[in-house]
C-alpha cells in the first residue's frame, strides 16, 4: 500500500494541493491575494522538492499507470516550469479576483500531464491529454474583459477539440486492428497494415496540433497573443514540453515497428515547421506572437532530434525541453513583468529598454541567445545534442537545413536584442519594480541558461535514464 502511494506520489501531491486550495477557498473566503500567493508558491515549491525524494519504479492499476526514473524526471521538469511560471505571474495575479480558481485550473492541467506521462495505455493517455487541455481554454480566457482573450480561448478549444477528434479516430482504428490499448501489447501487434498506418497518421496529426507543428500550427499565434502572459508561457513551455515527452515515448514504444515510415513524416514535419515558423517570426510586431512563431520553429528542431529514434534522441529531447523551460521562461518572465506593470507587449515598446531596465534587458538577451542557440548558452548545447541525435540517422541534408534555419532564427532574435540595446525611444519605459518572486524566478532561469550548458553531467544523467531504442 505504502509502495503504491509512493509510486503515484507526484499525482497525489498535486491532487492534495488542489484540494487544499478548494477547501481554503470555501473556509476562508476573504484571504488577501498576497497571503494566497505566498501560500500557493510555497506549496508549489514543496511539490517541486518532493519530486526528488522517494522515487519508485513500477506499474499500478493493472498496467494502466507506469512510472520510472525518466518519467519522474520529466514530471520534475514540469514541476519546475510550473513553479517558475507561478512566481512570474504574482504581479499579474495580485490584481485578480480568481486566484484560487486560476491555480486549481492550472494544477489540474498539470495533473493531467502527469497522468499522460505515466500512461501505459492509450485510454489513459487520451484522458490525461484532455485533462491537460480543457482547463487551459478557461485559463486562456482569464482576461475576462478582453475580447482577444475570449477569441484565444475559443480558438484554443476548437483546435483542441479537433485534434482530440483526430486522436480518438486514430486510437479507435488502432484498437479495431489490434484489440488492445496497452502500449506494450500494441507494439507487438502493430505490423504496419494500411489501417494502422492511417490511424498513425491521424495520431501524428493530433500530436502535430498539440505541439503546433506546421501545418497544424494556425491556432498558435492568435492563442498566444490573446491569452494572459502566464497562460501563454504555460502553453508554450509546459503543455508543449509534456506533449513532446509523451510523443517521444509513444513513437518510440508503440510505433517502434513503423519507424521507417514515421522517420520520413517527422523529417517533412520538422523541415516545414522550422522554415515556416522562422519565416513568420521575422515579420511579427507583437512580442508574444513573435515568441509563438519562434516556439514553432523550436519544435521543428525538437522533431529533428526525435527523428533520430535512439537513446540519444530521447535524452536530447528531454534535455532540450529542460533548457527550453529556462530560456523561454526567462523571456516570458520579462514580458510578464512589463505587461503586468505597463500593459505593453509590442516589440517597438522595448526600444531603449536597456537604458531604463538594464538587468531585465540582460535577462531577455541571454534568454534570446539561448533560444537562438549561440554558444556558450545552454540553448546551443540543447540544439547541438538534438542535431547529433538527428545526425545519427546519417541524413545530413536535414542537418544542413536545420543549420540554415538557425541562421534565420539568429536574425530575428538579434532584432529584439538590437531594439532593446541600440534603438532610441521618445517615450521610454519607466524603471520597473521587480518584486521578490519574479526576481527568484528570473535568477533561476539565468542560472539554468548559463550553467546547464557547461555542466553536461545533466545530459549524461538523462541519457543514463533513457531506454535504448
Amino acid at each position: 500500500m505504502n509502495e503504491a502511494l509512493l509510486l503515484m506520489k507526484p499525482e497525489l501531491i498535486v491532487t492534495v494541493i488542489i484540494f487544499i486550495l478548494l477547501i481554503l477557498h470555501v473556509a476562508r473566503e476573504n484571504s488577501s491575494p498576497a497571503y494566497l500567493l505566498n501560500l500557493i508558491n510555497g506549496l508549489l515549491f514543496i511539490n517541486f522538492l518532493c519530486g526528488f525524494f522517494f522515487n519508485r519504479e513500477g506499474t499500478l492499476f493493472g498496467d494502466m499507470y507506469v512510472t520510472n526514473g525518466l518519467i519522474v524526471l520529466e514530471k520534475n521538469i514540469l514541476n519546475l516550469g510550473m513553479l517558475l511560471i507561478s512566481l512570474q505571474a504574482t504581479d499579474w495575479l495580485k490584481k485578480k479576483d480568481f486566484i484560487v480558481e486560476f491555480y486549481v485550473l492550472l494544477l489540474t492541467t498539470l495533473l493531467g500531464m502527469f497522468f499522460m506521462l505515466s500512461s501505459n495505455n492509450l485510454l489513459m493517455f487520451y484522458l490525461g491529454l484532455e485533462l491537460s487541455s480543457i482547463p487551459l481554454a478557461a485559463l486562456a480566457n482569464f482576461e475576462l474583459e478582453k475580447r482577444k482573450s475570449s477569441e484565444a480561448a475559443m480558438k484554443f478549444i476548437m483546435s483542441s477539440a479537433f485534434s482530440s477528434g483526430l486522436l480518438l479516430f486514430g486510437i479507435s482504428m488502432l484498437y479495431g486492428t489490434t484489440g488492445t490499448l496497452n502500449f506494450a501489447q500494441l507494439a507487438m501487434l502493430i505490423d504496419g497494415n494500411p489501417l494502422q498506418l492511417f490511424s498513425f497518421i491521424l495520431l501524428l496529426a493530433g500530436f502535430g496540433f498539440k505541439i503546433s507543428a506546421v501545418p497544424f500550427h494556425l491556432w498558435t499565434a492568435d492563442v498566444y497573443e490573446g491569452s494572459p502572459v502566464a497562460v501563454t508561457s504555460y502553453l508554450s513551455v509546459i503543455s508543449k514540453g509534456a506533449i513532446l515527452f509523451v510523443m517521444a515515448s509513444v513513437l518510440f514504444t508503440v510505433f517502434k515497428p513503423l519507424v521507417e515510415t514515421w522517420y520520413n513524416m517527422l523529417y517533412l514535419l520538422a523541415v516545414l515547421t522550422m522554415i515556416i515558423g522562422n519565416l513568420f517570426a521575422i515579420r511579427q510586431q507583437n512580442l508574444k506572437r513573435f515568441l509563438a512563431f519562434s516556439s514553432i520553429a523550436q519544435v521543428g528542431f525538437i522533431l529533428i532530434g526525435m527523428s533520430g529514434s535512439s537513446q540519444e534522441a530521447t535524452a536530447s529531447v528531454i534535455y532540450f525541453v529542460l533548457i527550453y523551460v529556462f530560456s523561454n521562461l526567462g523571456a516570458f518572465g520579462v514580458i510578464a513583468l512589463v505587461s503586468a506593470q505597463t500593459g505593453k507587449e509590442e516589440i517597438d515598446d522595448y526600444k531603449g529598454f536597456y537604458l531604463s531596465n538594464p538587468m531585465l534587458a540582460l535577462v531577455m538577451t541571454l534568454s534570446l541567445f539561448s533560444l537562438a542557440g549561440i554558444p556558450p548558452t545552454a540553448g546551443f548545447f540543447g540544439k547541438f545534442f538534438l542535431l547529433m541525435a538527428g545526425a545519427g540517422k546519417g541524413n545530413f541534408v536535414l542537418i544542413t537545413i536545420a543549420a540554415l534555419n538557425m541562421v534565420i532564427s539568429l536574425y530575428y532574435y538579434l532584432r529584439i536584442v538590437k531594439v532593446m540595446f541600440m534603438e532610441k525611444n521618445e517615450t521610454p519605459m519607466e524603471k520597473l519594480q521587480i518584486s521578490l518572486f519574479p526576481r527568484i524566478s528570473l535568477l533561476t532561469c539565468m542560472a539554468g541558461i548559463i550553467l546547464i550548458g557547461f555542466t553536461t553531467l545533466l545530459y549524461d544523467y538523462i541519457f543514463s535514464l533513457s531506454t535504448s531504442f
Binding site: E312, A315, F369, I374, P375, P376, F380, F381, F384, F385, L387, M388, A391, G392, G394, F396, I399, T400, A403, L404, M406, V407, L410, Y411, L414, K418, F421, M422, E423, T456, Y459, D460, F463
Partner: protein
Amino acid sequence: MIAITLLLLPVIFAIILLLAPAASSRRIALIGSIISFSITAFAYSQYLQEDFTKLNFDVSWASAFGIRFNIGMDGISLILVLLTALLYPVIIASTSRTVISNPKAFYSLMMLMQLGLMGVFMAKDAFLFYVFYELTLIPVYFICAVWGGDRSIPITLKFFIYTLAGSLLMLIAIIYLYFKTPGSHTFDIQAFYQLTLTPVEQGWIFWAFFLAFAVKIPIFPFHSWQPDTYTVSPMAGTMLLAGLMLKMGIYGLIRFILPIVPLGLEDWVDFAMVLCIIGIVYASLIAWQQQDLKRLIAYSSIAHVGLIAAGVLAANTAGLQGAIIQMFNHGINVVALFFMIDIIENRYGTRWMDELGGIAGQMKKLGVLFMIVMLGSIGLPLTNGFVGEFLLLMGMYVFNPWAAAFAGLTLILGAVYMFRLYRNVFLGEVKDHKMTTSDVAGWEGFILIPLCAIVIVIGIFPSILLNVSEQPVQQLLQFMNDHKSGVSGL
C-alpha cells in the same frame, strides 16, 4: 595547468570587473591581461625546455557524445596564444584615450573575448573549438555595436549573421566527421586526422570548412562585412578583429583543412587560391583609393591575410611556416598601425587623408615609429614582414610560380598605398595650423616602442618563432601526406 589557467584568468577577471567599481575597470582589465601575458611567457619558456606536461589539460565533458574538455598547446597554438596575450594589454591600454560609457560591461566583454580567443587556439577537441569559435562572436558583436559609431548596428548585424552562417557549416562538417570516427565516436581532432574519407566526401567537407573560415579571414568574395565593420567599430574592437579574430580563420585552415581533407584541398586548391589572389590584388587596389585611414588599413589587412591564406593553401613547409610567422607579424603591425591612427584621430579630430598633412613635422616621434611599423607591414628586409612574406611567396612559388608572381603584387601595391599614406599624412604641408598637438605621450611610447622593437627583432631573429612552429608544421604535413597516400592506396 598553464593552459587551463589561461582560460580561467579572463573569466575570473570578468567577474571581478563586474563587481569592482566602474572607475577602476580599465586598470583591473590591464592587470588581468598583463598576468595572462606573463603566464604565456612562462608557457613559452616551458615549451622551449620541451616540458609539455603543463601545457595540456584534458577532462571528460559530455561523455555521452565523447566530448572532452581537451586543451593544449603545440608550437602553432603557442605562437597565437602568445600573440593574443601580447596584444591584449596594448588593446586595453589603447582605450584609455577615449571615454567609454559603461566600462564594466565593456571590459568584461573584452575579457570574455580573450577567453574565446585563447580557447580557439588551444582547443584539441573539435566541439570545444567550435564553442570557443562562436563564443568570440558575442563579445565582439556587443563591443562593435554598442560602443561603435553611426550605422554600427546594421553593419555589425551583417557581420554577426555572416560569420555565424559560415561557422554553422563547419558545425555540420564536424558532426559528419564525428560520425565517421570508428568505435565509440569522438570529437578529438587527432582522431579526425586518422580518418580516410573518399574524395567526394573530402570535397564537401573542404567547402564546409573553407566557407566558415573564408568568412572569418575574410577571403574574397566573403569580405564584404569587413571594411564597414572595421570602420564603424570602436578602435579596440577594430584591433581585436584585425589583430586577433582573423587569425582564428587561418588557424582553422591549418588545423582542419590541411590534415583532414588533403584530397578535397587538392581538388579545389586552384579555385581557392585564385580567390585569395583576386582578394589580394582587389583589396590592395581599393586600399590605394581610400581617404579614410582606418578603412585603408582595413583593406590592406584583407590583402595581407589573403596572402597568408594563400600560403596555407599552398600546403608546404615554407608556406605554412611563413603563414604562422606572418600571422604573428600581421597582428603586431596592424594593431600598432591602428593604435597610431587612433593617436592621430585623437590629436587632429579626423582620420581623413585630405584633412591631414605634415604630421611628421609636428609629431616627430610618431613619424619615426609609424615609419618602422609601416616598413614592417610592407615587408622591407630586416623587418618582421619581410620574413613572413618571403616565406609565403616561396611557398607559393613551389606551389605555382604564377600564383607567386600575382601574389607578389601585394608587396608592390602595399608599398605604393602605404607610402602614399605616409606622404599625404606625415609629410607635405600642415593642413590645419591652428591645431596645437602634443607628440606621443609617455604611456603611448611605452606601448609603441616595444611593438616597434618586436617588428625589428623578429625581422632579424625570425628563428625565435620559426623554431617553435617548425616541428608541428612538419608533423602536420606528415599527417597530410600519409593521409593522401592512405586514401589513394585504397
